[in-house]
């Protein structure tokens, strides 16, 4: 079944972060808070994610994806 999250992610899967760009899953450890460990191609940055694709478990916002995403940037709010 198609999924947007990472329960079935495997080492070597390519993933995308709007912040860090494309990367590859380097290892998985389901016993940790951030089981999906990703090495990003740009800058060789290494970081962990939850199975939902959260960068921080305490900030429940998906920021890791299976493909590039389009984001419509909101404009700056007007000063009061």
């Amino acid at each position: 079944m198609s999924t947007t999250t990472f329960e079935n992610a495997k080492v070597g899967d390519k993933v995308y972060s709007p912040t860090f760009g494309w990367g590859k899953i380097e290892y998985t450890n389901k016993n940790t808070r951030h089981p999906i460990q990703v090495r990003f191609f740009h800058d060789n940055y290494f970081s962990g994610y939850t199975l939902e694709g959260y960068y921080y478990i305490d900030i429940p916002v998906q920021s890791l994806f299976w493909d590039e995403v389009t984001i419509e940037a909101p404009t700056k709010p007007k000063e009061p």
Binding site: S2, T3, T4, T5, N8, A9, S17, P18, T19, F20, G21, H42, D43, G53, Y55, Y56, D58, I59, V61, Q62, S63, F65, W66, D67, E68, V69, I71, E72, A73, P74, T75, K76, P77, K78
Partner: protein, 158 residues
Amino acid sequence: MATTTFEDSKVGDKVYSVAFGWGEVICTDGFEHYPLGVRFQNVVIDTHYFTLDGCYYKDNPIQSLFWDEVHIKAPVKPVVIAATKIVNGVEIPNISYHPKTHHHCNIPAPANPAFYENVRCYNNENIAYMSSLGLCYPNTEKGKAAAILHAKAMLGIT
């Protein structure tokens, strides 16, 4: 004019990062290419720097800092079809498929001296069963070669 980027940002502005959540601008002159310093709440490393375009890396120009929360439609995991499959220890091109009724396809035929048969698909039930077993190969030279290899693999004579 309304802007989506941060040329006019000021210390104290509230901003939103796709990775780090809500934060507050703490400086606009941080580093040469990353002037925008933002302090986030509830994160281990609380201060991060961005370009005025809201990018985390200047040479990876993807905006990930915004003036408000953004909602991203998450793409589904792509289905990766392996190029080959293993039959009895033999690697075979993974090109078997589900042919349409009345179309021809090549099937492995271990009892046939040619090791394959080119058949016309009449019966939907049979087609469904054969294709579920990965036995229907396209009616092409590649499909024929794969069917032959499949049959030989079944016989263990490759």
